[in-house]
C-alpha cells in the first residue's frame, strides 16, 4: 500500500514536470504542423506531420549558416576560455600571490558584470580593430566575458585534486607545462568537462554582444538569426518553430546526454561552502 502511494507520487512529479516543459513540446509539435493548420486551433493535434518547415529553414533561410557560426564561435570560445582559465585557476587555487584576496574579489565581481555596461566601448573597439562581423571578435569578447566564471569553477575543482600528485611531479622535475600535461589536466577532466559545457552554453545562448557586433550573416549566431527571423507579410510561425528547435538542439543534447557534468558544474562552489 505504502509502496504504491510512493509510485503514484513519483509519477505525479514526472507528469508535473512534463507539463512544465509544455512550452517546449508545443513548439516542437508546431514545427511539424502543416502551414494551413497552424492558426486553426482547436483541434490541438494536427491531421498529419510535415517536414516542410524544416525544409524551408534549411534551404531558404540563414539558419544553417548561423548554426555553423554558433558551433564555431561557441567551440572556439570554450577552448580559449579553458586555455587561459586552467593556468589562471591553478594560480588562484595553488600558488602564492601578492594581493590574492583582491584578485579573487575582482574575479567574483566580474562574474556579476552586466554586458550592457561595456557594450558601447566594446562596439567602438570592435569597429576600430575591424573585428565586427568576424568570428574572432565575438570569440574574444565571449571568452573574456566567460573567463571569471571559468576560473572560479576550475579553481574549485583544482582544490579537490590531492596535493601529493603535484608534489610528486615537482620532485620528478616536471616543469610547469609538464605539470599541467601529466597531472593537473588528467585529474581535472570531469571538472573540465563541466566547465566547458557551461562556457559553451553561455556562448551559444549569448545575445547582446552577438546582436551588436554583427551586421551581416558572416558571424550571425543562432539567437541573433532567430530574433531577426524574417517574415514577409505574415509571421511564419511554423518556420520560426523549426528554427527554434534547431537552435535548441545542441543545448537539449547537452542536457540529456551530459546531465551529470552539467549539474556538477552548476552546483560547484555554491553547495560546498
Amino acid at each position: 500500500m505504502r509502496r504504491s502511494i510512493r509510485t503514484v507520487g513519483d509519477v505525479a512529479v514526472l507528469v508535473a514536470l512534463a507539463a512544465y516543459a509544455i512550452p517546449f513540446f508545443w513548439q516542437l509539435l508546431t514545427s511539424f504542423k502543416p502551414e494551413a493548420e497552424l492558426l486553426r486551433i482547436p483541434p490541438l493535434l494536427p491531421s498529419r506531420l510535415t517536414l516542410e518547415h524544416y525544409r524551408v529553414v534549411i534551404e531558404q533561410s540563414l539558419m544553417p549558416r548561423a548554426l555553423g557560426n554558433s558551433l564555431g564561435i561557441a567551440t572556439l570560445t570554450t577552448l580559449l576560455a579553458l586555455v587561459a582559465g586552467v593556468p589562471g585557476a591553478y594560480a588562484v587555487a595553488r600558488l602564492p600571490l601578492p594581493g590574492k584576496r583582491l584578485l579573487l574579489l575582482a574575479i567574483v565581481a566580474s562574474t556579476a558584470f552586466p554586458q550592457i555596461a561595456t557594450v558601447s566601448p566594446l562596439y567602438l573597439l570592435m569597429r576600430a580593430l575591424d573585428l565586427r562581423d568576424t568570428w574572432a571578435g565575438l570569440v574574444l569578447v565571449h571568452a573574456s566575458f566567460a573567463l571569471p566564471l571559468t576560473i572560479w569553477l576550475l579553481a574549485g575543482f583544482i582544490r579537490e585534486i590531492p596535493m601529493e600528485a603535484e608534489e610528486a611531479a615537482a620532485v620528478d622535475g616536471a616543469g610547469l607545462l609538464g605539470l599541467f600535461r601529466w597531472v593537473v589536466i588528467p585529474l581535472l577532466a570531469p571538472g573540465l568537462a563541466s566547465t566547458a559545457l557551461l562556457t559553451f552554453l553561455f556562448s551559444w545562448n549569448e545575445f547582446l554582444f552577438a546582436y551588436t557586433f554583427t551586421v551581416s550573416e558572416a558571424s550571425r549566431t543562432i539567437p541573433v538569426a532567430l530574433a531577426l527571423f524574417p517574415g514577409v507579410f505574415e509571421v511564419p510561425w511554423g518556420d520560426i518553430a523549426a528554427a527554434a528547435m534547431l537552435a535548441s538542439l545542441p543545448p537539449v543534447v547537452i542536457v540529456i546526454a551530459l546531465q551529470r557534468f552539467l549539474v556538477k558544474g552548476l552546483t560547484a562552489g555554491a553547495v560546498k561552502e
Binding site: V11, A117, L125, P223
Partner: protein, 290 residues
C-alpha cells in the same frame, strides 16, 4: 624568500598573464572608457562630441522614461526572483522525494534552463498568440491580448523569464538537499517530528544559505536581463516592459546617444554592484547559517 617560493611566484604570474591581459583589455579598459563616454555629449550622426561633465547623470533625475524603466526593472526583478525561489524550492523538494525517475525529472527541468533566452522568448510569443496561442485557446472566452495589453505585458514577460530560469534555483536546492545526511531526518523522525515540522524546522533552514546564493545569482541576472523583453515585446507596449538595460541599449544603438546611453549603462552597472554587495553582506553576517 626561498628559491622555491620565488619560482612559485614567477609561475603564478606566468599562469595569470593571459587572464589579466584578457580582462584588462576587454573588461577593465572598456569599463573605464564607458565612464569617460558617460561624461560626454556624443551623438555621432550629428557630429556632436564634447565634454559634458555630469550633465547626462543630472538629466536622469528629471527623465521620466528613466524612472519608468527603473520601476519596471524593480518589478521585473522582484517578481521573477520571488516566483523562481518559491517554485524552485517546490520542484527541488518534489524531485528529492522521488525514488525513481530522478534522472528523467532533472532532464525535463533542465530542458527549459538550457534554451537560449531568445528561444524562450519565441516559445512564449507563440504561446501568447492572441487567437492561436495555446494559452488563449485554453482560456476560451477569458482570453487576453497578453503582449499587447499594457497591464498584462510585464507579467507575461516575467512568466516567460521564470519558466526558463526557475530550474537553476531548483537544481541548486536539489544539490543541497542531496548533501544532507540521512541521519538528520532519521533523528527528526525519532523525535516524533511530523512532516510539516520536518519541512519548516529542518529542511527549509538547511536551504537558507543556498537559497540566498541562488537568489543572488538570479537577481543579478534579472537586473541585466535584456534578450527576453527585447525579443518578446521590444520594451512595449507603451514602454511598460522597458527595463533600464533595454533603455540603455536603445539610447546607445537606436537613437545613437553614445554619451547618454553610456551613463545609463553605468547606472545599471552600479545597481548590479550595489545589489551584489548587499547580498554578500547578508551572506557574511551568517544570519542564515547552514
Amino acid at each position: 624568500m626561498t628559491r622555491r617560493q620565488a619560482a612559485d611566484r614567477r609561475r603564478a604570474l606566468a599562469c595569470l598573464a593571459p587572464t589579466v591581459l584578457a580582462l584588462g583589455a576587454l573588461t577593465v579598459y572598456p569599463g573605464v572608457w564607458v565612464l569617460w563616454l558617460s561624461l560626454q555629449h556624443r551623438i555621432p550622426i550629428f557630429d556632436v562630441s564634447r565634454f559634458a561633465g555630469l550633465d547626462n547623470y543630472a538629466f536622469l533625475g528629471v527623465d521620466s522614461r528613466f524612472w519608468n524603466a527603473a520601476h519596471t526593472t524593480a518589478v521585473f526583478t522582484l517578481g521573477s526572483v520571488a516566483l523562481e525561489v518559491v517554485l524552485g524550492v517546490m520542484a527541488a523538494l518534489a524531485i528529492h522525494a522521488q525514488r525513481r525517475g530522478r534522472r528523467l525529472a532533472l532532464s525535463l527541468l533542465l530542458l527549459a534552463w538550457a534554451m537560449p533566452a531568445v528561444v524562450g522568448a519565441k516559445l512564449f510569443e507563440w504561446l501568447y498568440h492572441p487567437t492561436a496561442g495555446l494559452i488563449n485557446v485554453t482560456l476560451g472566452r477569458h482570453s487576453a491580448n497578453w503582449l499587447g495589453d499594457p497591464g498584462l505585458a510585464l507579467p507575461a514577460v516575467i512568466l516567460a523569464d521564470v519558466w526558463r530560469t526557475m530550474p537553476f534555483v531548483a537544481i541548486l536546492c536539489y544539490a543541497r538537499l542531496l548533501a544532507v545526511p540521512a541521519e538528520v531526518y532519521e533523528a527528526a523522525q525519532v523525535d516524533g517530528a511530523g512532516r510539516l515540522a520536518t519541512l519548516t524546522r529542518i529542511t527549509l533552514p538547511l536551504l537558507g544559505r543556498i537559497l540566498l546564493l541562488a537568489a543572488l545569482f538570479r537577481t543579478l541576472d534579472a537586473l541585466r536581463a535584456f534578450d527576453i523583453m527585447f525579443v518578446l515585446t521590444g520594451g512595449g507596449p507603451a514602454g511598460t516592459t522597458e527595463t533600464l538595460t533595454v533603455y540603455a541599449y536603445r539610447a546607445l544603438f537606436q537613437t545613437l546617444q553614445l554619451g547618454f546611453g553610456s551613463a545609463l549603462s553605468v547606472v545599471v552597472f552600479l545597481l548590479v554592484m550595489a545589489v551584489a554587495w548587499a547580498y554578500l553582506k547578508i551572506l557574511r553576517t551568517g544570519t542564515v547559517a547552514a
